[in-house]
């Protein structure tokens, strides 16, 4: 029971930090789930994140995996509700207020101000993930290759992501 409560607190808190996307909260996700609560190891967290890339829908549904690993099905359910419900209610409420906020002079200021901060948070998340994931020349090459391919073509991101995984298997086997 204590564990479910901890899960709810941690993932409810993390969800409030996902401004600009799930990656913005990744540094905090790593801190709390790996270093503070020891629910998963950093490699496990990365591997769930990788699986999340392969699953449809929002990538951050990988939080369900952490919940499930810690406390089975109830754990997954608690994590999902804590992760989605508070921010969902906030979005719902603001969405309804939006027309009234439309002429509020601070509204464009908030949008202009939070934009760069969310880019900075995604960058920080990327750096934290890169520290764990880019461990040798091959992994750096994969990251650069995926980046270049996606910048230069309109290919579906799923394709280079899956190909990266297959290259990883191929190099392990030879």
């Amino acid at each position: 029971m204590k564990q479910l409560l901890d899960l709810a607190m941690v993932f409810g808190y993390i969800s409030l930090l996902t401004v600009g996307g799930g990656m913005a909260a990744f540094p905090e996700l790593k801190d709390l789930t790996v270093d503070v609560h020891h629910w998963v190891t950093f490699p496990e967290l990365m591997h769930y994140y990788s699986l999340g890339q392969l699953a449809p829908g929002p990538n951050m549904m990988m939080v369900a995996s952490i919940g499930a690993q810690v406390a089975g099905l109830p754990g997954a359910a608690v994590v999902l509700v804590a992760f989605i419900l508070p921010t969902g209610l906030l979005t719902f409420g603001i969405g309804r207020l939006w027309n009234r906020l439309h002429d509020w002079p601070w509204r464009p200021s908030i949008q202009r101000g939070l934009g760069p901060v969310s880019v900075g948070l995604v960058l920080a998340g990327g750096i934290v993930l890169a520290r764990g994931a880019l461990t040798n020349t091959l992994t750096v090459a994969l990251a650069v290759g995926v980046f270049a391919l996606l910048m230069l073509t309109k290919i579906n991101p799923a394709i280079p992501i899956v190909v990266s995984g297959l290259v990883g298997i191929g190099l392990y086997l030879i």
């Binding site: 699953a55 829908g57 969902g88 464009p108 200021s109 901060v117 992994t139 750096v140 650069v144």
Partner: protein, 207 residues
């Protein structure tokens, strides 16, 4: 809030009537099940604006601007906002449920599977290489997001400051968000005469 308050302009196709709750859930469930490889927003735009014609492009961009300035996953926020526009609060609930259910169910199942075979070196090699590839994908997301919101030098300074605080000085994300956020909002504060224009997010169609 009246659904479809804004009539579509120009040569755009007329909007379809708001769907039944069941059709709405099904639509979001299908988008939640097929949006592979990240970039769920592109799938949502294709689905909501082009295929189902439940929203016009202008409304989609407006809802996207709300989604990006609020905490929460963009895809979930977009589902909630468009579901509410279409069918009120039950629509918002069912849209978010449909969007998240497929991925959440798969990732829950994956935890049990990885728990069993997690030490298999082949799957480790596979997942580690995917994490590496994902770093490249995140860089792309950052460039795309940045090209929309970074206008002046100060904006770049806020990016670097946030990233350094969180990734190198280990400042909790919350403090960085509130601290740099307040600074950046103050920097872009409303000034008499020159109202700052909200940045127009633009989206590429999914191939």
């Amino acid at each position: 809030m009246k659904p479809h308050a804004a009539a579509p302009k120009g040569p755009a196709l007329p909007l379809a009537p708001p769907p039944s709750l069941w059709r709405l859930f099904l639509g979001f469930f299908i988008m939640g099940s097929t949006s592979l490889g990240g970039g769920v927003i592109a799938y949502l735009r294709t689905g909501l604006v082009s295929n189902y014609r439940w929203l016009d492009d202008e409304t989609f961009v407006e809802l996207m601007a709300i989604s990006q300035s609020l905490p929460g996953l963009n895809a979930t926020n977009m589902s909630i906002l468009s579901g509410d526009r279409l069918r009120g609060w039950p629509g918002a609930f069912l849209a978010a449920l449909g969007m998240c259910l497929p991925g959440a169910a798969l990732m829950t199942a994956a935890a049990f599977a990885v728990g069993v075979g997690g030490d298999d070196p082949l799957s480790k090699a596979f997942l580690h290489a995917i994490a590496a590839g994902a770093v490249g994908l995140i860089a792309v997301v950052m460039v795309q997001l940045g090209s929309k919101v970074l206008v002046e030098i100060a904006d770049y300074a806020f990016v670097v400051l946030t990233a350094v605080l969180v990734a190198f000085l280990h400042v909790p994300v919350l403090y960085a968000l509130v601290g740099v956020g307040a600074l950046a909002i103050w920097w872009h504060r409303p000034r008499k005469g020159a109202a700052p224009k909200p940045v127009d997010p633009h989206f590429k169609d999914h191939p």
